[in-house]
Symmetry: C2
Subunit: 562 residues, 2 copies
């Protein structure tokens, strides 16, 4: 029979490394079978129980709980008596080097530091980050469990002042060739990355390296950056930086699926950056393999492969702009799946978008007989074909609708498909061309068309295409090219950022101040970066109420008077 | 001022071609400005109104409505008086050829016909299809607006008897080189397609042709086949046929996103078919670019390109099977995005699947401390890291959980990641390997691992991999390869079909009976197929009540007594 003994240290703060080392120290003592040293959160208590380390004591999330399972109770008690010895041993090791006690003092010591790495526990992290911004530093915020309102406030402040906040919950970055937090060593190169996912960034940069490519900068944003509330502030700053960075030729953007409105913002910014952008919005159906300078990947490995290929392909440079069109897109399809694929490809790029083949309920066109905003219509849908031939056979419905769109002052660009083949109209271009010519002459609206067919089809594909081109249509033999054309005419430019993050902070071997996990400081030094580690302790001993009072005093009238 | 005159013919049935020709005939008469000839459904009435053809008459969906806008009322009335003349002219043209009046009589005339093409209006279509199945024929059901319960009944009957029902709402097929309905002329070849989308099938086959590839068979299923209610019957039959067809080397499967349960059924059947399968489940995030013999495309064009490439690459043959494992997958990740990508890739293949990074609410693992079914865990999630180091630095949590999984009799396969690099544990393999070795020795469970890192990482990637391999782990440097391994061990074989569709019906130039649109018959003849057109009229003059009585008499005791 083994014995369990436990001890609670209420309100005590130790950083996670200390807890890990303490647990290992205890587990290594004579007669000790297993040991757990944790902050007593509900999950941690359950985890202890799963390891048969259930302690019959009262402890809350802010209390340190020590549990020892040993051969007998006396050995367990003896082990717990060693706790202070084990902690003191660590403190002696720490004392051998100079450590500033505050961020402010560290900043005075390492004047060239433009970055602060923060990995203190979540509830203290925002305070340290605020201080860093106040000192004009850019922030790598590794800490998780940071309240959303703190993230929003920090990023909004940074956004206005041209400072970058990577995180919270940002595990990885590579800045000027130096890895922050968790980062793989990769060769320098021309691929710049922005990622809302730490492991995503590690996997992609590792794969780029394995494929022989290299990385200019890898900018983390934290996993919450693409929520509507945060509004993708760090992602937009990252895209802007990489767009301006002369060393970056190809950009990779990685995140979990952003919320729809945010996706539009990001795609507009990515389109406007003027470089090829590979997007892996993991789990979001891309709807297209590419859309002009945007290239959509399905996995991190594929994103890496595409980026390396694009960097090696000079022709991958984005196409020149087409004349901008005013008004909305009106797409009149005879092919249902072409309509559906178009909705999929355009839904995050052109908004508001309505359709009778909606992918999201908000896209449903209430009255399919009247267009609104950007409208994509499947004219072969069931409701249209009761007692009427399919629009691939009979053009009447489409021609009438086309005339209706031409009378609508909101129409800007027209998009039509033409599906040839057996069973379809024997000469559709002869009916479509006159109305298209009329549209082009009278309204000057661009008419963009995709023709689906083969050179063996009975209608004669080439002749059909020529007839439509003579009428003034822009005709493509692939839907993705037709959609590229539409997007280049209709995507609005994104608004400029309130302040630009200076490129200087991304220069080789940046200097950084580290607050939190010492191993991150060791890693900076090992990589040849200038760095300083702050001997951080939670303000007011970790007491929340006192902390708030302290924070107010710091940010209060004294600060304003400076 | 122009005048509007209208006429209603209550309960009259004419097929859509007749209506189109009548409308054109009327529009061509002296003094007529525009004409509309439609079944008076609400949508059609609104469409007339949009063309300024609003008729002040009472008419319902089963009534034929004729509206003429003309220079004056007298000319309009004169035009309407021509309706019967115009209709009679058409009947004379029809009479020049022999036309059987019933499907039964057509089947006696063209004995070798194994197909019936049906394009009569939706409410009559199921009756014709039932008759075709009763005669042992396979069905191409072009008609839309067919009730769901009819589709389910038809397909279930066909499934049991080894007959194929393509549709309803099936626009396209290419069988033995002959296009049914709408179909592009493409060269014969080794790519077989199954598609729930007509335009999708047309676009993909046209693109395959343009890329120099060719098509063996293109099987349509109708757009509702992948609903839970229909259960993908035609898709499963199509995959089975193409899997057995010696002319087919690569299979392409196209549909809108199936419902989750159905997706699993299809993916299992596609995996089991023994050939490379390209899937474009349009709008469904694939989660992987490939999974063993399954290759995921984002667009129809990409699906075509992948199929053509796979056909030309002999190495694309599926890998040999791995020993099947019993029990469930237990994935313990330190990298959140690796967990998330794994959920994405496996969610439709391995079920039931639970996780603390759910993509669907049904996947949420209520208690993250206890696995159930297939479980994928992100051990770096916020809940696990309060007062504890991230599992990339501290292996303790993962090792304890690994031991817990080994004690669970439901565990079958273990999946772990290992993320190297700056900031991570200096030698994680030294801690993981002993527990892995124990697992492999004691439980014989396969341990599959993915290692993320580079050859420059401080831990020494190759040494880490070798250490894990010596412990018995199957180690991969890419998540997709690791997931391939897992899937090959765990995917169950799909149940066999109740009856196989014979390959003989797909032989060159099939013979077919056409019921409905005459242009489809013309197209069959033009393609050199043996075909016969039925001079079909709705039973009981289209009266629903009488139709039901007739149908009962036909399928009644007389039929059962045979």
């Amino acid at each position: 029979m083994s014995a369990l003994v436990a001890e609670v240290r209420p309100g005590a703060y130790y950083d996670s490394v200390v807890l890990m080392q303490l647990q290992r120290g205890l587990a290594g003592l004579p007669g000790v079978l297993d040991a757990g040293v944790v902050m007593a959160t509900p999950v941690n208590l359950e985890l202890l129980a799963a390891s048969h380390l259930t302690a019959d004591v009262k402890a809350g999330p802010d209390d340190l709980l020590l549990v020892v399972r040993s051969d007998n109770e006396a050995l367990g008690r003896a082990a717990l008596e060693q706790v202070d010895v084990l902690l003191a041993r660590r403190r002696t090791a720490e004392a051998s080097e100079f450590r500033p006690k505050s961020l402010e003092s560290a900043a005075r010591t390492l004047l060239e530091a433009s970055w602060v790495l923060i990995s203190v526990p979540g509830r203290f992290a925002a305070g340290v980050a605020r201080e860093a911004l106040r000192l004009g530093k850019n922030v790598f915020l590794y800490s998780d469990n940071v309240p959303a309102e703190d993230e929003i406030a920090l990023k909004r402040t940074a956004f206005k002042e041209g400072l970058l906040v990577m995180g919270p919950d940002c595990g990885t970055a590579i800045i000027g060739g130096v890895g922050f937090g968790f980062a793989n060593r990769v060769r320098p190169g021309a691929i710049g990355l922005v990622a809302a996912s730490g492991t995503g960034l590690q996997t992609a940069t590792s794969a780029i390296h394995a494929l022989g490519g290299g990385v200019s900068q890898a900018i983390g944003t934290g996993s919450h950056d693409l929520t509507v509330e945060v509004g993708a502030i760090s992602t937009l700053q990252g895209l802007d930086v990489l767009g301006r960075d002369p060393a970056t030729k190809v950009i990779v953007l990685i995140s979990k699926p952003p919320e729809p409105g945010v996706a539009g913002t990001i795609l507009a910014a990515a389109q406007a950056c003027g470089k090829p952008v590979v997007l892996d919005l993991i789990g979001l159906a891309p709807g297209a393999s590419h859309l002009n300078n945007l290239h959509f990947a399905t996995t991190l490995e594929e994103a890496a492969r595409m980026a390396v290929e694009l960097e090696r392909t000079p022709s991958a440079r984005p196409a020149t702009a087409l004349p901008r069109a005013r008004g909305f897109l009106r797409g009149l399809f005879s092919g249902g799946t072409l309509a559906y694929e178009s909705v999929l490809a355009l839904q995050d790029v052109l908004q508001p978008l309505y359709t009778n083949v909606p992918l999201r309920e908000s896209q449903r066109l209430e009255d399919p007989l009247r267009s609104r905003g950007h409208t994509l219509l499947d004219l072969g849908a069931d409701a249209f074909t009761i007692g009427r031939l399919h629009p691939m056979i009979d053009n009447d419905l489409r021609l009438r609708r086309l005339r209706q769109e031409l009378e609508d002052p909101e129409t800007g660009v027209l998009l039509l498909d033409l599906v040839l083949g057996e069973g379809a109209h024997p000469d559709p271009a002869s009916e479509l061309a006159p109305v298209i010519a009329e549209a082009v002459e009278k309204t000057r609206h661009p008419v963009v068309m995709v023709v689906i067919g083969t050179d063996e089809d009975p209608q004669g594909m080439q002749g059909q295409i020529e007839r439509l081109r003579s009428a003034g249509a822009h005709v493509y033999s692939s839907l993705s090219l037709a959609l590229d054309d539409v997007v280049r005419r209709l995507t609005p430019d994104p608004p400029p950022l309130p302040a630009q993050v200076p490129l200087g902070i991304f220069s080789a071997k940046p200097a950084a101040i580290n607050v939190g996990l010492e191993s991150f400081y060791d890693s900076l030094i090992a990589q040849g970066a200038a760095a300083i580690h702050v001997d951080w302790k939670p303000p007011a001993g970790g007491n929340d109420r006192l902390m708030r009072i302290l924070a107010k005093m710091k940010a209060g009238p004294a600060h304003e008077a400076r």
